[in-house]
């Protein structure tokens, strides 16, 4: 009998085109997502060397990082941003790649539109010049971020030169309490692993609490794998996955659907498969989480306190913590719930999907954003926006005082006009709290959509469970 294999092993083995003696492999890439920021130099490289795009039909491109999320009728004001978006459009036209422009209802954040269109399917290899490509692992696809040189490599050859990653399994046992969402689970996981804990690994998330998640929740978890240093995150495909995929525009059609389904059902890890690293958490121990510092591993429960650098023995870590607290304008030992906020950002490829917006709306009915707080909601795609408006969520948001905007990356990385001012403090559903990420000098606290909503109403970090 052959050795039991993990989900990762199976996808990897299926995609090896050739293997060198030292274990370096050429692996086939099934799907390639492209956005405007990390692709222009790749197309330029192709042009300079006179190479072609091997398989234009396997790629899908969208402008998301630079697009305005307010009135779009005037196009993009910022000249460099505009040129970057136009360059993508031109490159796609020249090489025959499908492109969703700003006025296309399917436009949105690259990691939201792939799943939405059925472009993302179980068992695939998927890449994008973007570290949060790990999101697509929620479907049981091997999906990871690459640099621009590799974007060019994939365009020219539809392959990548890689060595297999190590296998890690993170099991979240039991059931999560009410008010504890996928975002809280993944923040707790990052806190446990540390920001480099997953380096060199592909992480498979398993256990009752993971299986119980919707596809949206699974995408939130896999999205942040990179914040623990992991190359990719994976969740075994099951009925939840198949139900989500079926009927999407690019999903297999009747006739092929059954064959695909039968194959996808062979993907989950074999019983007895072994992992290089195993980590276990208990969902019942996890409270709603917030970050207090400038690394995604700087996590505390909402009932907790800002830690004290004096209690840290490692010198490098102590210095980093001091620097973080200084940047964040926080004092050691203060209660997390005493941290006042100015801004709320709900959106991003982590939490900009319809389920996230429904959670916000359910809490927002009959409540008001605190005076002085600017709370913005940026849907992940045009289709998410339409769906939310069909369900009347936009009316609830506006009545509660939220700013309801057009789809894009927006204040997740503040490359467009949406940014924090120096010293401004934000409860954000995005994935990175790095210094300056949401605007120079801006202070980011990562939270779930429910927690961001609670913060919007309280004007400080607050426990979503108190909203009842």
């Amino acid at each position: 009998m052959s050795k039991p294999r993990t989900l990762f092993d199976k996808i990897w083995d299926t995609h090896v085109v050739s293997r060198q003696d030292d274990g370096t492999c050429l692996i086939y890439i099934d799907r390639h997502l492209i956005h405007e920021v990390t692709s222009p130099q790749a197309f330029e490289g192709l042009r300079l060397s006179g190479r072609k795009v091997r398989r234009p039909g396997a790629a899908l491109a969208v402008a998301d990082h630079n697009v305005p999320t307010s009135d779009r009728s005037r196009g993009i004001d910022d000249e460099e941003s505009r040129i970057q978006v136009e360059t993508l459009e031109r490159n796609c036209a020249e090489y025959g790649i499908e492109y969703y422009g700003m006025d296309d209802v399917r436009q949105g954040i690259v990691h939201i539109i792939g799943p939405e269109q059925g472009f993302t399917l179980p068992g695939m290899t998927i890449v994008c010049g973007d570290s949060h490509t790990s999101t697509h692992g929620a479907f049981g696809a091997l999906a990871f971020g690459i640099g621009t040189s590799e974007v060019e490599h994939v365009l020219a050859t539809q392959t990548l030169i890689q060595k297999p990653a190590k296998n890690m399994r993170i099991t979240v046992e039991g059931q999560a309490h009410a008010g504890v969402t996928a975002k809280d689970l993944v923040l707790a996981i990052i806190a446990k692993l540390g920001t480099a804990g997953g380096t060199g690994h592909v992480v498979e998330y398993a256990g009752e609490a993971i299986q119980a998640l919707s596809m949206e929740g699974r995408m939130t978890v896999c999205n942040m794998s990179i914040e623990a240093g992991a190359r990719a995150g994976l969740i075994a495909p099951d009925e939840t996955t198949f139900d989500y995929v079926q009927g999407r525009p690019m999903a297999p059609k009747a006739g092929q659907w059954e064959t695909a389904l039968a194959y996808w059902k062979t993907l989950p890890s074999d019983p007895g498969a072994t992992y290089d690293t195993e980590v276990t958490l208990n969902a019942a121990d996890i409270e709603p989480q917030v970050t207090w510092g400038t690394s995604p591993e700087d996590v505390a429960p909402i009932s907790g306190h800002v830690p004290n650098p004096a209690n840290v023995s490692d010198e490098g870590k102590r210095d980093a913590m001091r620097r973080s607290l200084d940047y964040m304008g926080l004092s050691a030992g203060m209660a997390v719930q005493d941290i006042k906020i100015d801004t709320v950002f709900i959106g991003s490829c982590t939490n900009g999907r319809i389920e996230d917006l429904r959670q916000v709306a359910a809490l927002a009915k009959g409540r008001q954003v605190a005076p002085g707080v600017h709370a913005m909601i940026v849907p992940g795609s045009g289709l998410v926006k339409n769906q939310a408006e069909e369900e009347g969520l936009d009316k609830i948001f506006k009545a509660a005082g939220f700013d309801w905007r057009e789809p894009g990356c927006s204040m997740c990385l503040a490359m467009n006009a949406d940014k924090l001012a120096p010293g401004e403090r934000c409860a954000s559903t995005s994935n990175r709290n790095f210094e300056g990420r949401q605007g120079r000098g801006g202070r980011t606290h990562l939270v779930s959509p429910g927690m961001a909503t609670a913060a919007a109403f309280a004007g400080r970090l607050a426990d979503v469970r108190d909203l009842g």
Partner: protein, 203 residues
């Protein structure tokens, strides 16, 4: 890509841990469609104030380190975003080698694609090199990729590991894409096989 064989140059110490690629080059410099000239954004927020005026004191701006070609960095260097603008900016500023206890995967990979050698060493050795790098203009390290050895200012040596295939590409300045295209028939075979076994992926 430029070859990397041997390098003798000033090493600059950057002991901060978890230096993310947003910190190496912030987003306002990602709007370019070129890959050159990015050193102006390198470590921007540590080097310039909000009005764009130079701040004093960042290591690469000190006279002794102006021409540094090597960076001795804290743990988990290059984490976060996949932006290849980070190694482009380092390269544009003259950095050809980075030593740390660990690198984030994508950044590590991106370095090799641009002729930069990232070296991973145990903490004790990185600490030693960090001390060496603290000696200003005397902080000269020699790096020999072929023999996989770093020689310190006092003549002490440290050997390092590097993946043989990556070493080969770096030593010869090889273009990955060219190498892969030599295997085009294998890729054709793979596609033919996949069209048959997973027909829903065709198209």
């Amino acid at each position: 890509m430029d070859k990397f064989t041997t390098l003798r140059g000033v090493a600059a110490p950057l002991p901060m841990v978890n230096v993310d690629t947003d910190k190496i080059i912030p987003k306002q410099f990602l709007k370019t469609i070129a890959r050159t000239g990015l050193s102006k954004g390198l470590f921007y927020e540590m080097r310039f104030d909000e009005d764009g005026k130079p701040k004093e004191g960042f290591v690469l701006d000190q006279p002794a380190y102006k021409n540094a070609q090597i960076l001795v960095a804290g743990d988990n260097f290059g984490c976060g975003s996949s932006r290849e603008h980070a190694p482009w900016a380092l390269l544009d500023a003259g950095i050809r080698c980075i030593v740390s206890t660990g690198f984030a995967d994508i950044f590590y990979n991106n370095c090799f694609k641009n002729g930069i050698l990232p070296i991973v060493l145990p903490k004790a050795q990185v600490d030693m090199l960090m001390d060496d790098a603290g000696r200003g203009a005397n902080a000269i390290l020699s790096i020999d990729l072929k023999d996989q050895v770093i020689t310190g200012p006092d003549g002490g040596t440290i050997s390092f590991e590097v993946d043989p295939f990556r070493k080969h590409c770096l030593l010869n300045g090889l273009d990955d894409i060219g190498l892969t295209l030599e295997k085009a028939d294998k890729i054709d075979d793979y596609e033919a096989k996949q069209n048959h076994s997973q027909p829903w992926l065709a198209g």
